[in-house]
């Protein structure tokens, strides 16, 4: 009986260690608290990125960008998965009032396994550019990724 209890305890300990290992923090959220100006036609990297660890059986992830911005002409924003091309662009309207104020916008992208996800670490980099020349200034913003389950 003692042996059974001991074996059971060992199994539980192994499972517990496994659970803690899954809790290793990844860079699933990022926050920027300064202005960045990007000039040029779509699409190129906007530098900031987040990462998430995918299990063996890939699951879709949700990436959310929430940002203040000023744009001299309409702009496009998207996500590059693991360094690949800029996907599923979102439209930001022109916004350049003389009072210097910013507009805000929040976008959500669903990235499916077929979009280039892979087992292990996956990186999602913000990208975009202007629709017709000009520039966009991103103000305070956040970028976050989470699994869809």
């Amino acid at each position: 009986m003692k042996k059974r209890v001991l074996h059971f305890a060992i199994v539980i300990m192994v499972l517990a260690i496994g659970t803690v290992a899954f809790a290793v923090p990844t860079n699933q959220v990022t926050r920027v608290q300064f202005n960045q100006t990007f000039t040029g036609f779509c699409c190129f990297t906007w530098v900031e990125s987040v990462t998430i660890n995918e299990p063996r059986a890939l699951v879709p992830v949700v990436v959310t960008l929430s940002t203040d911005y000023r744009a001299t002409t309409p702009a496009l924003a998207g996500i590059s998965v693991n360094g690949h091309e800029c996907l599923t662009t979102a439209h930001l309207n022109e916004y350049v009032p003389s009072d210097g104020s910013f507009a805000s916008y929040t976008f959500q992208w669903v990235v499916a396994p077929g979009d280039g996800l892979m087992k292990g670490n996956n990186t999602f980099t913000l990208c975009g550019g202007m629709d017709a020349g000009g520039s966009i200034t991103l103000g305070f913003n956040t970028l976050a990724v989470r699994m869809s389950k």
């Binding site: 042996k3 059974r4 074996h7 059971f8 060992i10 199994v11 539980i12 499972l15 659970t19 809790a23 923090p25 699933q28 959220v29 990022t30 926050r31 608290q33 959310t64 960008l65 929430s66 940002t67 203040d68 916004y95 009032p97 009072d99 104020s101 910013f102 507009a103 805000s104 916008y105 929040t106 103000g139 305070f140 913003n141 956040t142 976050a144 989470r146």
Partner: protein, 159 residues
Amino acid sequence: MKRISTIVRQYLIGLAVGCFIMGCATPAFPVPPNEVLQFSNFLGFSGPCCSSFGVSVQVTEPAKPSPVVITWSTDFQSTGSVLVGLMLNGGPCTFYGPASISFSDDGSRTFQWVVLPSDGLRVGTNTFTLCGGGEFGDVMLGLNGLANNTNAIAARLSN
């Protein structure tokens, strides 16, 4: 040989029982009610930035605090540009991400804010209160919930 097979069998049974217990426990965690809030009444504010809107959510941090993601969606009416942010545990109104509700008579906005442990998150209960006001002076701001609960705020641990 028989003894080894008995030990292996005991381990497999233990593993199965352990997995069953953990599998049952995982879906048993509900979203704590303090982490989400929907309000269906009209909330009106006036004045310059920044003062409390009196609307809060709470998150309980573990021994090692992790970042909190707060999402707020609202319909609104305003008479000028508005800035919105959060007060962490009753502290000053701070912009943990985008803050601007640009001037328009009405519309809808969603904000996602990220609050980091270095911002002052503490072990146990943390309270996040909506705050804001006019960017360039007095404005009148109305947050509409109405019957369809279009005004909702939610907080969750990022891990």
